[in-house]
Subunit: 128 residues, 2 copies
DNA sequence: ATATAATAAGACTAATAAGGTCATGTAAGT
DNA sequence: ACTTACATGACCTTATTAGTCTTATTATAT
């Protein structure tokens, strides 16, 4: 409950790894997987979501790999997590119908906001 | 990911329900389950954790049921959730070993703190 | 005393979600 | 052409959460 997913964790570590390398050369997913000790195929999938959301940029074919789309200081932890997991929500309120007059939902929403704030405040540069 | 469990949700709704009743009579779990539209046996299990953690008080036998152990305004959302789920943690860091020199863990811890703060600030009285 | 109405505890099963693998396709460099 | 690397989506496996049931315990009412 309230746990960061592996996908999220891997994405973050992967991006940090790329940031640690020379900006000029693309980094292979195989290298990242190996160095970060993460299942390669899984990381491929995670990275594809980062590409689709414009966090990283991919270069296909021989001498291909991944590069950051922006400067590390312009990529927040929040960006990465939501790119991988979609919009955050502590409580979807599928279960009950009184969502409109419910006084608990605002609490969850507030908690989520506070949490998101922290994730937005930290970027790859200061986390690397 | 980052989602409230059903157990947590049910616990909260259950306690709110008890709080809505006359303090003098114990409330049956069967009644709560029915009115809250929640699986009874499951709620029993959830409530037992609340009892063990001193949130509610149980009276066994005929005419038994549950009562709040304290005033609603002294029971926070945080109390209930942790009673049911144990201590919160966004990231256990089982996966990798560099936890000591890791700069991401503090971010998760900070996010958790902010979130916990909100849950601590809200009690059953103002959520009921 | 006994019947009954309630919670306590924990084993068990079912459902869902997360994590991981694989096969096939596409693009780029040599 | 051939090789290397990403793209995509189907598929399988594992872990976690949700839910059920059985047996025991405790208290009350008759
Ligand atoms: S937060 Fe409120 S509306 Fe949402 S599921 Fe819980 S009780 Fe229902
Ligand atoms: S937060 Fe840091 S120490 Fe924890 S799992 Fe992630 S990278 Fe490892």
């Amino acid at each position: 409950m309230f746990k960061l997913s592996r996908a999220g964790e891997y994405a973050l570590r992967g991006v940090v790894y790329i940031a640690s390398k020379n900006v000029d050369d693309a980094v292979h997913v195989a290298e990242i997987a190996k160095c970060q000790n993460v299942p390669e195929y899984f990381l491929v999938k995670v990275f594809s979501r980062l590409v689709r959301n414009g966090i990283i940029h991919s270069i296909r074919g021989n001498k291909g790999g991944f590069r950051l789309s922006k400067k590390p200081e312009n990529i927040s932890v929040y960006d990465i997590i939501t790119a991988v997991e979609g919009p955050l929500n502590l409580n979807d309120c599928f279960i009950c119908k009184n969502s409109s007059k419910c006084k608990m939902k605002p609490v969850w929403d507030e908690a989520k906001e506070k949490m998101m704030e922290v994730l937005k405040q930290h970027n790859i540069a200061d986390v690397a």
